[in-house]
């Protein structure tokens, strides 16, 4: 069961705001680490939306999680600028080092793809727990793997 006190505070904070659903979902995810299933209905009720409509929005956006992520989240950029600087090879190296593929969570580590962090002139790039890292090379990838496995 989800602790609804925080949810109520979030819904109150956004009362009267136009188009409030995305800001609410961002806050819910910030508070709970994901969007718990049993929050969909009360969120919908606050905005006069059905549970299905809220679920549809949650499902549409890549950012919103229906299940908790690992304690460490690594977002590796797969876009063209990073590919041009050897991103594909580094992805394989990181996947091998962590023993998981893009999109998977294991042992409190989540590895996922992102498409552009705006660091295209210092590619390849990644974000590790909200910390941006540019000019990735094999050594930097190994350091990331070591850091998150500690």
């Amino acid at each position: 069961m989800t602790d609804f006190a925080r949810l109520r505070a979030i819904l109150t904070a956004h009362q009267g705001r136009e188009g409030a659903l995305l800001p609410i979902l961002h806050d819910v995810q910030e508070a709970y680490g994901h969007i718990p299933d049993d929050t969909l209905e009360p969120i919908g009720a606050a905005l006069r939306l059905s549970r299905a409509e809220v679920a549809g929005v949650v499902g549409f956006y890549h950012d919103f999680r229906r299940a908790p992520a690992g304690k460490h989240v690594i977002k590796l950029c797969r876009a063209e600028a990073c590919q041009a600087m050897g991103g594909v090879g580094l992805q394989a190296r990181l996947e091998a080092a962590l023993g998981l593929k893009l999109g998977e969570t294991k042992q409190d580590i989540t590895l996922e793809a992102t498409y552009c962090l705006g660091l295209c002139a210092c590619a390849p790039a990644a974000m590790v727990n909200d910390r941006l890292i540019g000019r990735l090379d094999a050594a930097a990838v190994d350091a990331i793997a070591a850091e998150v496995r500690q």
Binding site: E18, G19, A20, L21, L22, P23, L25, H26, L47, G56, V57, F60, Y61, H62, D63, F64, A79, E80, A81, C82, Q83, A84, M85, T114, Y115, C116, L117, G118, L119, C120, A121, C122, A123, A125, M127, D130, L132, I133, G134, R135
Partner: protein, 502 residues
């Protein structure tokens, strides 16, 4: 000693934070008084973190700096191995025409005093003294066109919204900068956020809108923080109230398609980011059904300069129907990557080779993708092509948001074409069939081509035509650009096409 170290995300990603700590620690050890200011980026990303030291002659640069380079900065700066001389004399910087990015990297992004001292609010002050229709005329006279990629004349869009009668109108700024190779929006907000506020307030006055939204992608957390702080500061100073304008940041949630204007409007309304059919135009029925100006950040950030100096002064730069300056962003496998603002008309080759020094790997340039994941791959044979909306379109490409990704000769064009289709499949909003199904079939068909299936090539061409002419928006409609340009210019990478060409 007064130093500047950028707080731009690219500088941070290259180690600016430990560097600042090391500089402070070194000063403490030596008992030396120093002041460290945080600026935005000058856009010379290969030099980041670029430390600047104030001298009587001007700001002297050192970069790319590492923690190990710090002690020497205090010993003998002139002989420092990373010394670059006066920052504004570095050829990459000196050759630019920086109108939109004039203040970026020069000032502290959140200092209202420095913004004002560097010419800030001058455009807004002039605009507020003018009738809305005259402001629209000034923008029309500047020749400014949508910098998001479509190139629609900004003045005409504004006039449509001005002439629409409605109780509520909106200005929406598109900072869903998802194109690989693009980082101008991020850089401007992190370096000069008040410039965007000024541009949006001018737009609000020009069309009669009192509320603005800035839609920033969630992949840019630094941008979101800086923009929110800037709005709060402008509010506290009473600047927004003076202009009769309110502003709010909305954060995306990782959907590339929300860069399409109608999908963005749906997203701000709290809906799935699906594309709306047009008409109705957002200028008439946009956000919450009200007349809405949806402009890219680069369009709105060009507005303060235009109002301060006049539309005529702006349109003196550029060629043909592409007037003014364009902040070109060069990334990927490039030696001197960064942001280069210049008048339209510089050629692709001059930019990539002359300004940016070719590839980082030192190998020959194979292809340059211009305009993001929906832009064409250009071979060296296109290097004489000048930056201009019409000339790029004539060559089967697009300027887009002016992001370039350079690839060296190790690039596998079949894999890049496959990636274009794969990306479209991941990011399709699902509303129209050519995009939703076509992208998936495109990946499969490219896999057949890779396996040597000769019948798959005409099929792919046919599929690309269906996507081009049948998709609702540019995501499905332009994904064929990288795919077909890759096949056309680099048949050697496609086993079946190679045989046909031989």
């Amino acid at each position: 000693m007064k130093l500047w170290v950028p707080s731009d995300a690219a500088a941070k990603a290259c180690g600016a934070e430990p560097l600042v700590a090391a500089i402070a620690a070194q000063a403490a050890v030596r008992g030396q008084q120093i002041e460290i200011c945080r600026n935005g980026s000058r856009g010379m990303v290969w030099l980041e973190p670029l430390v600047e030291v104030e001298t009587e002659a001007g700001r002297v640069g050192f970069g790319p700096m590492t923690v190990a380079d710090v002690p020497a900065l205090f010993d003998d700066p002139e002989r420092h191995p990373k010394a670059l001389g006066l920052v504004e004399e570095i050829p990459f910087f000196k050759r630019q025409t920086r109108l939109t990015f004039a203040r970026c990297g020069q000032i502290e992004p959140l200092s209202l005093d420095q913004y004002q001292a560097a010419g800030g609010w001058e455009g807004l002050r002039k605009a507020l003294a003018m009738a809305p229709a005259s402001v629209v005329e000034e923008i029309t006279a500047s020749g400014l066109r949508g910098r998001g990629g479509a190139g629609f004349p900004t003045g005409i869009k504004w006039r449509t919204v001005l002439e629409a009668e409605a109780p509520q109108k909106y200005i929406v700024c598109n900072v869903d900068e998802g194109d690989s190779g693009s980082f101008a929006d991020r850089m401007l907000i992190e370096g000069d956020p008040f410039c965007l506020i000024e541009g949006m307030a001018i737009a609000g006055h020009a069309v009669g809108a009192t509320q603005g939204y800035i839609y920033i992608r969630s992949e840019y957390p630094d941008c979101v923080r800086v923009m929110r702080k800037a709005i709060a500061l402008a509010e506290t100073a009473g600047l927004l109230a003076e202009a009769g304008f309110a502003l709010e940041v909305r954060v995306g949630a990782g959907a590339y398609v929300c860069g399409e204007e109608t999908a963005m409007l749906n997203s701000i309304e709290g809906k799935r980011g699906t594309v709306r059919p047009k008409p109705p135009l957002p200028a008439l029925e946009g956000l919450f059904g009200h007349p809405t100006v949806v402009n890219n950040l680069l369009s709105l950030a060009a507005v303060p300069w235009i109002m301060a100096h006049g539309g005529q002064a702006y349109q003196r730069f550029g060629i043909d129907r592409s007037r003014g300056t364009i902040p070109l962003q060069v990334g990927g496998n490039v030696k001197y990557g960064g942001l280069f603002e210049t008048g339209f008309g510089i050629t692709l080759g001059e930019l990539v080779v002359g300004v940016c020094g070719g590839t980082a790997s030192g190998r020959p340039v194979k292809a340059v993708q211009v305009g993001g994941p929906l832009g064409a791959y250009h071979p060296q044979a296109d290097f004489d092509l000048p930056f201009c909306y019409e000339l790029f379109a004539g060559q089967g490409g697009l300027v887009g948001h002016a992001g370039l990704v350079v690839h060296d000769d190790s690039a596998d064009m079949l894999q890049l074409a496959r990636f274009a289709m794969e990306f479209c499949a991941v990011e399709s909003c699902g509303t129209c069939t050519p995009c939703r199904i076509g992208a998936v079939r495109g990946v499969e068909t490219l896999d057949r081509i890779a396996a040597g299936d000769a019948t798959a090539l005409p099929l792919l061409d046919d599929l690309c035509d269906t996507m081009k002419y049948g998709s609702l928006c540019a995501l499905g409609g332009f994904t064929p650009y990288p795919v077909q340009s890759a096949i056309r210019h680099f048949p050697q990478d496609f086993p079946v096409a190679r045989e046909a060409a031989e």
